[in-house]
């Protein structure tokens, strides 16, 4: 029981990180119907900016962990957003109205280019760092096994929940959210009614990139080591999460993230850690076969 609870705590933490990345996929897919394959790389770049940010903080002598975290969070969100914006502007916007697979192929190109760019400028070796929060407490003990919850895990879950609530409010109540939903329903009609479609799509990418950067920072703090290749696997798993929850749905992305985290952690804990990625991919295949609209998604009606 204690072992189970411990795995549950770990799974929720991992699931929160996947959920944050998955929101970026889901929002972009909801609006322009493309899989932003480069989203995982934005997450990776967010992690790198956070790493550099933490190092700068320690150089500047900022020793208080909360101040450093907030500072780095803002920096990472701001500068990763520029990546999100620039990717959309250069690689996707010229392709709007091209054939369906064109943006996806372009996105794969962006993904390869960004990975190699980071590898070139930062080196291929794994980079340790970002461990500014340590310690935790014992939740309970049973059968001689301590169930530990670290402060970091609490921070991760709290940050995720706050951002989730913030985003739900943003989509439901603000003018920006209204414009986003309008574009999602009918882009042409929205533009006829005075919605600046290009700007709305740009902002969607910016928001998605900012969330990915948060996920990148949390990932760095949680695992303490990153390299230029983390975006690929995390990106695919987050995409799986978005599909599992129902692509286009915000709560779905979060739910999907949690489920993927649970599956991965419990598979590794009870079966074999070598095949945990296989399990995640197999889930993706199974979901798409049996419930292509995901758990919370709306069925898509194809019109001629």
């Amino acid at each position: 029981m204690a072992y189970f609870t411990q795995q549950l705590v770990n799974a929720i933490t991992l699931g929160a990180i996947y959920g944050l990345i998955a929101i970026g996929y889901t929002m972009v897919y909801g609006i322009i119907g493309m899989i932003n394959f480069a989203h995982g790389e934005v997450f990776m770049i967010g992690a790198f900016i956070s790493l550099i940010g933490f190092m700068i903080c320690s150089l500047l002598g900022i020793s208080s962990a909360p101040v450093a975290i907030v500072l780095v969070l803002l920096i990472a969100m701001a500068f990763s957003s520029v990546y999100g914006w620039a990717i959309e502007r250069t690689a996707y916007r010229p392709l709007r109205g091209s054939f369906r697979l064109a943006p996806l192929i372009s996105a794969i190109g962006v993904s390869i280019a960004l990975q190699n760019y980071v590898q070139l400028v930062q080196g291929a070796r794994p980079k340790p760092g970002g461990q500014v929060v340590s310690g935790g407490f014992v939740l309970f003990s049973a059968d001689g096994f301590d169930v530990r919850v670290s402060w970091l895990q609490i921070i991760i879950v709290v940050v995720t929940v706050v951002l989730m609530l913030g985003f739900t409010w943003l989509i439901a109540k603000t003018p920006l959210g209204r414009r986003q939903r309008a574009c999602e329903q009918d882009m042409k009609m929205a533009s006829l009614l005075g919605v600046d479609v290009d700007r709305t799509i740009s902002l969607t990418f910016v928001l998605g990139a900012a969330l990915a950067a948060v996920a990148g920072m949390l990932f760095l703090m949680y695992y303490g080591v990153i390299d230029f290749f983390i975006g690929f696997l995390a990106g695919i798993k987050a995409f799986t999460a978005a599909v599992l929850g129902g692509i286009g749905s915000l709560p779905g992305a979060m739910l999907g993230g949690l489920l993927i985290g649970l599956i991965e952690v419990f598979w590794a804990a009870y079966f074999s850690s070598e095949y945990k990625d296989v399990a995640a991919f197999a889930i993706l295949v199974l979901v798409l076969i049996f419930r292509p609209t995901g758990l919370l998604g709306k069925p898509e009606i194809e019109k001629v």
Partner: protein
């Protein structure tokens, strides 16, 4: 024109500002290992960043000139940048010299582009131009084939060239195989390398453990890969385009992870070694024959030469690639081939006309997988060593890039693209890591500027009424 100058300057400054924001952390602070337990320290590279930002500013300004009709200023700016890049002035790193010069070269090309297209268009409309055009469309394939057939006997065929040619032909074959799936049937397959891996491991295991020869395994490997194609395709082919892409990607990764982790069966990350090469009527390519075999040199009564093996491999892959091509050309004329192309254009209409989309897609998927299996067997026989390392996602992306760059559905385009994407980077091995960076950027640029690929023009496979001369095509 001068009135627009402030706007252009503003735009260039904005671009440079964005570039600076992109680079300030990731480029400006290079993290380096210091070897102690404390971890990392910084290596500041602001000078590099500053140079890059200035280059981007000038480049953007030049592009603005060019698109506003100021061609000469754009070309002059480009020429100055090329000169600056080539000059011996000290820049923070060697890469920046290339960066400046390449930026300049692109500006010159952009500036001169309208003239080039104009001249080309005019030339294509003269009588001679039309004749060359028609001749090219009709005979280009045959000329290439002739060149490919005589290549090993020309003086340029040293070991390096032959190695490269075999590699390019392998990718041409993979490209043609994937072209059936992506180009004809319009299904985006991001896990094509999985079938390639199935073929390679099929040959490697059957030959090293059961002693089967290359020619016996070849059809088996193709069948096995096709079976995998059907097994995967049957449940997932009902999905829409981009979902299918991600599922195939996931499937490719699953195959790779299984190969990596099922150590008893595949020997895991260590791979499988000493795989026998292909034989010619039972004779092997070696200086001394193993027990009970004879060497090709003895059989033909010619002196042994280490190049013979390579030449033989070259003809084997050339033959396999041509079979793929011929097969595709024939399939396109059959009802199922026409159904593929019809499905690519409009699935709903196809359903209405009584075409079963799942079965039709499945045939395309399985046939594409089969050719990947053939190519995989050949790869294993050529390398004599395989490991899961060779079958990563990036391979799938490269094959896909060949198909897309070639112009989906165009057979000759695949050849051109394979020579460009595989041949050029191999010649410029020194580029090292910059190779893949350029590769990714090239994929984006092709999609943005030439989404239909190098050979974008595609003749319909059939016409209801034969085209009249001079009629619209």
């Amino acid at each position: 024109m001068a009135a627009r100058l402030p706007a252009m300057l503003k735009d260039a400054a904005l671009t440079a500002f964005v570039a600076a924001a992109l680079g300030i952390f990731v480029v400006g602070f290079r993290t380096v290992d210091v070897g102690s337990r404390t971890g990392l320290s910084f290596d500041y590279q602001f000078a590099d960043l500053a140079v890059a930002v200035v280059v981007i500013f000038l480049g953007r300004l030049g592009l603005q000139f060019a698109s506003n009709g100021l061609r000469w200023p754009a070309i002059a700016l480009g020429a100055i940048m090329i000169a600056a890049g080539a000059s011996p002035m000290t820049l923070p790193s060697g890469f920046l010299h290339w960066f400046v010069a390449l930026g300049g070269a692109m500006l010159v090309i952009r500036g001169a582009w309208p003239w080039a297209t104009q001249a080309f268009g005019a030339a294509a409309h003269t009588t001679v131009g039309r004749r060359v055009d028609a001749f090219g469309i009709k005979w280009a394939g045959w000329i290439l084939l002739g060149l490919a057939l005589v290549l090993p006997f020309t003086p340029v065929a040293d070991q390096k060239t032959m190695d490269l040619s075999v590699l390019i032909l392998t990718y041409v074959m993979l490209g043609w195989g994937l072209n059936i799936v992506v180009g004809l049937a319009g299904l985006l397959d991001l896990g094509y390398v999985a079938f390639y891996a199935v073929g390679a491991y099929a040959y490697a295991l059957l030959s090293t453990q059961h002693g089967l020869g290359f020619w016996a395994v070849l059809p088996l490997a193709g069948m096995m890969a096709a079976t995998f194609g059907i097994l995967l395709g049957f449940p997932v082919l009902r999905l829409r385009g981009d979902y299918l892409a991600i599922v195939t990607l996931g499937f490719g990764e699953i195959i790779r992870l299984v190969l990596l982790n099922w150590v008893d069966f595949t020997n895991g990350p260590a791979g499988i070694g000493s795989i026998p090469g292909p034989t010619l009527f039972g004779a092997v390519f070696a200086e001394t024959a193993p027990e009970g075999k004879q060497t090709v040199a003895d059989m033909l009564g010619i002196p042994f030469n280490s190049n013979q093996r390579l030449v033989f491999l070259y003809y084997v892959i050339l033959g396999l690639a041509l079979v793929t091509n011929l097969f595709t050309q024939r399939m396109r004329r059959l009802p199922v081939g026409r159904a593929w192309e019809a499905l690519r254009e409009d699935e709903t209409a196809c359903k209405a006309l009584g075409i079963n989309p799942t079965n039709t897609k499945l045939t395309a998927f399985a046939i594409g997988a089969m050719f990947a299996g053939f190519a995989g067997s050949f790869f294993a026989a050529k390398q004599r060593f395989i490991s899961p390392e060779s079958f990563t996602f990036i391979e799938s992306a490269i094959i896909l890039a060949i198909v897309v760059l070639g112009g989906m559905g165009s057979q000759i385009g695949v050849v051109l693209a394979a020579v460009l994407l595989i041949g050029l980077p191999e010649w410029f091995r020194e580029l090292g890591n910059y190779r893949m960076l350029a590769f990714g950027l090239a994929m984006v640029l092709i999609m943005v500027y030439r989404p239909r690929g190098l050979v974008g023009h595609r003749e319909p496979s059939i016409r209801l009424h034969p085209a009249s001369p001079g009629g619209s095509g």
